[in-house]
Subunit: 406 residues, 2 copies
């Protein structure tokens, strides 16, 4: 080995932290553990049966073309279908606004790659999706957190943060927002808040990165318009994905963005992986055209809806009064706030002993806060296990409450 | 749009150049043009028929697991098969040395991400694969070129470059080498040269990045040992891929590297795309186990062998004496050197008029040289077209030679 390997690694590599969630997930792999920790879609929601004939037809009808390289922007027909999907809900966009990415994690990576220099400020919610934070931090982003209320990122505190930064001569590269069923909180931003934040982006001349992995998985309430749609002034870059509504193992995501931004992103993607696998893109085209897409999405929504209801009902029954939690209208996660002096990390170790797991909320707080919070996933575990798991968890919290004061 | 979008892009984005080849390829898309320009494998070499039953069996036997997220390092069974493949040829390696990447372009990107800071020096051959150069330049690499002779990168000139850099207090991050059927020259490095370069890497305390996309596609001569294998002192990181021996549309590559390097690469990959698509990895596992892999590889080798022979024979017949070209023992490309004062870019425009295309060699020279060189691909075009194309090309060069002096 060379003499100073450590000193040879890049700043990006030194910025890159091994995911804290990954370390937590390692502790939860014992099959006896009921885990609310992961972020996995339910395998029952995957359209296994439909794919056999789709792939078979595809190979017969398209042959070698599905195994060849394709354009860096993505297979044109898939981009057209995705544009159509947004146009159907009234969004103004065209082919030049659409790039296929290798999962929306690559969307986050490319946004980081194209905008962030070492030391640049990026604003995110407190708390926020760790994979987004990590992708931006890799390129040297200094994350500045803005607290959330029950409607998502506080517009008032966002403006205070923007003023504070402006007074220091700092212009943030963008504001990172997950408006629908946010990871980790499950909170959805109503249109009024979206408009307030867009107005701030205009006033302070800042881009918004709108991450929408769960948007289509809505159980209750009214669908909210995309921030991309509400803006119409090229301030918003939207990320989407098939991971939660088709199959994460396909790694197909997309970026709906202003043309001038997309031009840069395509060049960056070219040196990142040339193109997203043609094979899975071509399957996705046929899957979208088959009609199974909508049918299976509805099945997924119904399944998660029911799982969320079971989980909320069980929490209502067993959790001590001093424990609060969110009531997501969709997505895969809910978020628990414990009494302020209770440490979720201590609870985590006790929970693992009792064979139940969650992710401590602090990993989603870029300011090191959130020590009394935890994220629970409700998409993966079946009802029977969820009931047993919530009961165990409630007992552990109850015991802790008895020690401290509620 | 924000007021200064251009100023908002990162240094990486500004480093990133749109591929010159891409621009050339756009001019060659007219179907009447016989194009030796691209770098595409022959679609006839793809195992379309075998895949139908493989995918069908996979979905029936493994179900939803093939559609779920999997480990960032790659699906364990695929990593095991790849390790086995190298062990079978005597390479000492184990699971911790093997990471699956989203094509070997992602391997190049991750190597750049993990090692290169803005302004760092990376050494490459003159000429060298543009996608490698671009991936490293994106992270700010200053490419220093070392001329090649008929055995690949000159060891003597490499040492001179290393001394020159050392005298300036500069330590290059790594030496980028494509030892087998190099892109663009088609040249293979014999073992003696590999050993010389490894000795220099040891002497000057530098890593080697060994890029092997074509290695398995050998028609003539003896297989050469991997530099990774010859070294055995953790100085070499090797990149491999299924793109030329199975299907580029699967985007499956891998990194065979020292454990300490791979640990960093996995963390970088996690924020890049979480994992390579499970679906295509699981197909690749079954494809490797099916026995069709070897059979289809032999078919590919035979096809390209014959195409190379046809092309070489035709060049021998028609090219003016003052034109020289390489005689690759494998891979997909050969490289033409024209008389020194002849400009391949001028020829390119004349060639497009006559409906034949190639890539000018200069795009592969990081020092701006190579204006009298051109790369021809022999894997994609069928024999009939290759014969017609070479005849047209020879006529154009002949006419140019008549004008200038040979």
């Amino acid at each position: 080995m060379i003499s100073d390997l450590k000193g040879t690694f890049s700043q990006i590599s030194n910025n890159n932290k091994r995911s804290a969630i990954r370390e937590i997930l390692k502790l939860t792999q014992n099959p006896e553990i009921i885990s609310f920790a992961g972020g996995l879609p339910a395998p029952e929601s995957f359209p296994v049966d439909a794919l056999d004939s789709i792939v078979s037809d595809m190979l017969r009808e398209e042959g070698a073309a599905v195994l060849q390289y394709d354009a860096t922007e993505g297979v044109t027909e898939l981009r057209e279908l995705l544009v159509q999907k947004y146009q159907n809900e009234g969004v103004q966009c065209s082919l030049e606004n659409m790039i296929v990415t290798t999962g929306s994690q690559q969307g986050l990576d490319l946004v980081g790659k194209v905008f962030v220099n070492q030391g640049d400020v990026v604003i995110c919610g407190l708390p926020s999706y760790l994979g987004g934070i990590s992708a931006f931090q890799a390129y040297g982003a200094k994350m500045e957190g803005v607290p959330m209320d029950e409607y998502g990122m506080s517009a008032e505190l966002l403006e205070a943060k923007l003023v504070e930064l402006r007074d220091q001569g700092i212009k943030p590269k963008f504001i990172y927002i997950i408006p629908d069923f946010q990871n980790p909180t499950g909170i959805t931003m109503p249109e009024s808040r979206r408009l307030e934040i867009i107005a701030l982006a205009h006033k302070y001349d800042v881009l918004i990165v709108e991450d929408c992995p769960y948007r289509e998985v809505r159980f209750d309430g009214e669908p909210q318009r995309l921030m991309y749609d509400l803006d119409q002034d090229d301030h918003v870059i939207t990320l989407g994905t098939f991971s939660k509504i088709f199959a994460p193992g396909f790694r197909i995501g997309w970026i709906l963005g202003p043309k001038d931004v997309n031009d840069k992103i395509v060049v960056a993607k070219q040196s990142s992986d040339l193109c997203t696998p043609t094979f899975v893109q071509k399957i996705a085209i046929r899957y979208m055209q088959s009609g199974v897409f909508e049918e299976n999405l509805q099945k997924t929504i119904d399944l998660y809806h029911q799982r969320r209801d079971v989980m909320l009902a069980e929490m209502e029954k067993h959790m001590p009064d001093c424990v609060k939690w969110t009531h997501p209208e969709g997505g895969m996660f809910l978020f628990i706030t414990l009494p302020e002096d209770m440490d979720a990390m201590e609870l985590f170790h006790k929970a693992i002993e009792k064979k139940v797991a969650f992710v401590t909320g602090n990993v989603f707080y870029c300011d090191g806060g959130g020590s009394n919070t935890m994220r629970l996933n409700f998409s993966y575990v079946n009802n029977e296990k969820a009931i047993a798991g919530i009961q165990r968890l409630a007992e552990i919290i109850e015991a802790e409450v008895a020690v401290e004061t509620c």
